[in-house]
Amino acid sequence: MSRKQKRLALISGGVGFVALAVLLVLFAFSQAVAYFYVPGDLAKAHLAPGTRIRLGGLVESGSLQRGAGTLVHFTVTDTIGAVPVTYDGILPDLFREGQGVVAEGRLAENGSFVADTVLAKHDETYMPKDVADRLKAQGVSLGGGETIR
């Protein structure tokens, strides 16, 4: 092979591979990412049941109920809407009623939300940024002790 042909082989191989990678990325973006909603937006979004999303908001005070075994129920609210959440597992250390939470999972047929992951704030002065942004945008007070540094 001449110098030109060798270079051509290298470049076309490279371009072909990068094209494959781009296709993979596009496919993955259409399949494997989860959108973030707060309860108020979720009602307007009309998502199909089974859609994988992240739901953020405050855990409604007094809504936490323990079911059989490790099952827990609680309500996530942004004061405009509220979504009942079911979760089977261990709640994070910093999970509290009245405080910020992000749950990842799927919408059930009856409009409730089945979470497979529940994340709470990372430490006592910090709440999930996504939640804080949205709540602030909707004019929800974050409470006295809640400072975002």
Binding site: G14, V25, V33, A34, Y35, F36, T70, I90, L91
Partner: protein, 662 residues
């Protein structure tokens, strides 16, 4: 007093860095040897001053001087000494000071070991290093000063985030930064070569040891961070594709590519332009990582505090250095001559494939990390890009690379013999297939692909051994002769084999721990028993305990295997008194390479506790493999060729020691 001294030393370090950036550069442009030589002493002085500054902050932490705002916010007098010490970098300000310390440390190393470098190149490298140091020193003084005082001084500190109160904090950040920041030397060499307009095989020989060193530290740092997250967070996961993890993983991928492309440049003078670009990109990704972690644009356990001015400042540093380097690259790259020819099937070809796959994989990680930020800025939609995305893109792209790894070192330079290489790997391939078949049989009904990916891991391990065997000539020569030849092989060959072997070990660990782990979440009362991984755990109740700065409820579990006692596990829920913050301390017991992982949930009123138990088969392979890779890098680094291949003159040695004495 000591604190003010540290503050003052930092200001002096900034001034020194500015001098070190300007004087050698002026010397290099005007061919003035005396000016060029100022860089060396300035680098030592800069390191000394930064060390003094860092020492002052450390003193304030160790002696619990709460009149310093940074110490007040992140320390507590009841914390054990080791956490008061590592707490220095357990916060934004201190960790930036550590960053600067390591940067100036590398400048000093270049100044110390660079005695054989051409005068002009060395001056330019030190100048670029100093420009970086000046930018970050200015950043610390302007936006993140750790030496600010509080008046009146509080009596007690507000404690370090409990998650950080762990030996991991003492080890993970310094190792990671040694890797991250180590690539700054490669960056400085690349920029210096571009300014000078000279780029040859010798350049690659000078850069490779730095890349190897940074890479080895980064490998260790990432592995350490992964293990720390695994045992500390109590979620049982070892990698979350968290943007901050990606921030350290991208420079690792690019750095791995750089190691391999510099090899081609050193041996064959090919891929010159590409290697320089990679050197720039690798450190650019380190800087990007620093920006992502430190600016607060991301929500993460690593984001200590968010302050918009910091983000803008780091972004400016990012734009100036990356933009400047890339502009210089586009201006000068055309003038660099293309190097040696090679056929697509050759060692060079294999290394090009390695680079293509690694950089593409790094690009998918970059896209997955930045896309949510871009999308939110453009449309306001918030999305989370997690494991499913990265498994589909990064995971799939890595498969052909992993398969190709054993072939690469068996191909000759210039024109390789693929069939010959395949024949030499025949035994390794057959054994790997047998291993896959055995796994498939043992785990019948489990995931179908997992045994084959584990077989690929075995192929990587055996392929690395096959390469050493081929080099020693075990197939052709008498055993004793081949054994002697094996011992006489250059250390770089052992380094390569060790790193590739380690990659296989890590792959096996990842697949095994992902595909074959078992998880139980259940409510347990005292005396109840559960089976996991062939062991039975009996819950023996909760015991209260008091630590130096926390109280805890410790869950006691008795282990039995086949009716015989196999020890016990303690897993606890802690409450750190100063911050009123609860944490989970997982109970982990190691059996060979596998681990039993017990995490406690909430206690019920009736005495029952929610417990999460994982059996993680062979999970230690993940970190063991990374350790082997890192050791492989170190073994390569100790190769004589990396030190003696350079035109070092004999008289330069006494001079080196004289300089050290200064």
């Amino acid at each position: 007093m000591i604190v003010e001294l540290g503050h003052y030393a930092l200001v002096l370090a900034l001034a020194t860095a500015i001098l070190q950036a300007l004087l050698p550069l002026a010397g290099a442009l005007s061919s003035d040897s005396a000016l060029m030589r100022t860089g060396t002493n300035a680098a030592f002085a800069g390191f000394g001053l930064t060390l003094l500054s860092f020492g002052a902050l450390t003193t304030a932490y160790v002696t619990s001087d709460f009149s310093v705002a940074n110490v007040f916010e992140n320390s507590h007098s009841q914390m054990p000494l080791i956490y008061r010490f590592s707490g220095v970098w357990g916060n934004h300000e201190g960790s930036m000071l550590l960053w600067l310390l390591i940067l100036s440390f590398f400048s000093a190393l270049v100044a110390f070991f660079g005695t054989h470098l051409p005068e002009r190149l060395k001056a330019l490298v030190l100048s670029v290093q100093a420009a970086l140091a000046a930018a970050f020193a200015l950043f610390i003084l302007a936006t993140s000063n750790p030496f600010l005082r509080l008046d009146p001084a509080p009596g007690e500190g507000s404690d370090l985030n409990p998650v950080l109160q762990d030996i991991g904090l003492a080890i993970h950040p310094p190792l990671l930064y040694l890797g991250y920041v180590g690539f700054s030397v490669c960056f400085s060499f690349a920029v210096a070569a571009l300014i000078e307009g000279r780029l040859d095989a010798a350049w690659a020989r000078w850069v490779r040891p730095w890349a190897l060193m940074a890479w080895s530290f980064l490998t260790l740092g990432i592995a350490m961070g992964s293990y720390w997250a695994y045992y500390e967070l109590g979620w049982g996961g070892w990698w979350f594709w968290d943007p901050v993890e990606n921030a350290s993983f991208m420079p690792w991928l690019a750095g791995t590519a750089l190691l391999h492309s510099a090899l081609v440049m050193e041996k064959r003078e090919a891929l010159k332009i590409w290697t320089v670009l990679l050197a720039i990109l690798t450190f650019s990704l380190s800087l990007l990582g620093t920006f992502l972690v430190r600016s607060g644009v991301l929500t993460s356990v690593h984001a200590f505090a968010t302050d918009p001015t910091r983000g803008v400042f780091i972004l400016a540093i990012l734009v100036i250095f990356i933009g400047g380097a890339l502009s210089l690259f586009t201006l000068r790259a055309g003038a660099l001559k293309a190097g040696g020819l090679f056929a697509p099937i050759s060692r060079e070809g294999a290394l090009v494939l390695n680079n293509l796959l690694l950089t593409t994989a790094a690009a998918t990680v970059l896209i997955g990390t930045l896309y949510p930020l871009v999308l939110e800025t453009l449309t306001g939609d918030k999305i989370s890009v997690g494991a499913p995305f990265f498994n589909l893109t990064f995971g799939l792209l890595m498969m052909p690379l992993l398969f190709a790894v054993p072939f690469g070192p068996l191909l000759a330079w210039k024109r390789g013999d693929l069939i010959g290489a395949a024949q030499r790997l025949m035994a390794a391939a057959l054994l790997s297939l047998v291993a896959a078949a055995v796994m498939l049989y043992l785990r019948w009904g489990g995931p179908v692909l997992a045994p084959f990916v584990m077989g690929l891991g075995v192929f990587l391990m055996l392929g690395a051994l096959a390469e050493l065997g081929t080099r020693a000539g075990f197939a052709k020569l008498a055993f004793s002769v081949a054994l002697r030849r094996l011992i006489g092989l250059p250390r770089a060959s052992f380094g390569t084999a060790l790193a590739h072997f380690g990659l296989g070990v890590t792959l096996i660990g990842i697949v095994s721990a992902t595909a074959y782990q078992t998880e139980h979440i259940l409510e347990m009362r005292r005396g109840e028993t559960v089976e996991a991984g062939g062991y039975s755990l009996t819950f023996d109740g909760l015991r209260p305990a008091v630590g130096p700065n926390f109280t805890e409820e410790r869950g006691h579990f008795l282990l039995r295997q086949g009716g015989v006692s196999a020890g016990e596990v303690w897993s606890s829920k802690r409450l750190y008194t100063a911050r009123r913050m609860p944490t989970t301390e997982a109970g982990i017991r190691t059996f060979g390479l596998s681990q039993l992982y017990v995490s406690l949930g909430d206690a019920r009123d009736d005495g029952a506790v929610v417990v999460r138990i994982w059996w993680k088969p062979w999970i230690l392979c993940i970190w063991l493999g990374a350790l082997l890779m890192s050791v492989g890098g170190a073994v390569s680094l100790s190769d004589r060729r990396l030190r003696i291949g350079v035109p070092a003159k004999a008289p330069s040695r006494p001079r080196l020691s004289a300089e050290a004495a200064e």
